[in-house]
Amino acid sequence: MQVETAQLESRRVRSDRVEHVRMGEMVTDILHELNQPLVAIANYAQASARLLATDSADLTDVRAALEQISAQAIRAGRIVRRLRTLSHHRMVLTDGEQ
C-alpha cells in the first residue's frame, strides 16, 4: 500500500514538472508574440515623429501610421488577455492540487 502511494506521489511530481515546463514554453511563445506589436508601435511612432519634424511631412502617411499604432495596441491587448487566461488557468490547477 505504501509502495503504491509512493509511486502515485512520484508520478504526480513528474506530471507537475511536465506541466510546469509546458506552461513555461507557452508563456515564452506568448511573450515573443507580444513583442511584435510593440516593435511595430515603436517604429511607426518614431518614424511619424521624424516625418512631422520636417516641413514636407505627408499627413496621409502619418495618419496611416497612427491607425497602425492603434491596431497594433489592440493586437497587444488581445495577447495580454490570452496570457491572463493562461495564468488564471494555472492558478485554478494549483488550487485544485491542494
Binding site: 510593440l38 511595430a40 518614431q46 518614424a47 501610421a65
Partner: protein, 133 residues
Amino acid sequence: MTAHPGNNQRWCYVVDDDAAVRDSLRFLLKSVGLPISPHVSAQEFLAVYAGEPGCLVLDICMPGMSGLELQQRLNFESALIPVVFITGHGDVPMAVEAMRHGAFDFLEKPFHDQDLIDRVRRAFEKMRGAAAG
C-alpha cells in the same frame, strides 16, 4: 508586394515573418530616405536576391528557415551583404552565435529608430568599402 532593386541602387532588405513589423520597418526606413525591399521569409528573399549591394535586416527567429540558417546559406554562397539581426528578448545566445558567424551587428527588439538607422548606414558603408576593395 516585393520591390526588387535595380543594379545601381543600394537597398535595405528586410526579412521578418510578422507583417506589422515588416511594414513598420518599411515606414521607418522610408522616412529617412532609405529604399527597402521587404520579404516575408528567408526562402522568399533567397528566391529574388542575386548578390546586389546593400544591407540585410534579418529577424533571427522565423518559422521555416531561421535567420541563422539564412546567414549560413549566404556565407556558403560567399555573399558580401552585411547582416543586421533583430532579435527578441530570449534570443541573445542566438545573436551571439550570429556574431560568431560574421553578422555585422544585432539589435534587441524593440529598438530606438536611430540605432537601426545608424547600423544600416554603417553597413552600407562597409559594403561600399568591400566592393571597392
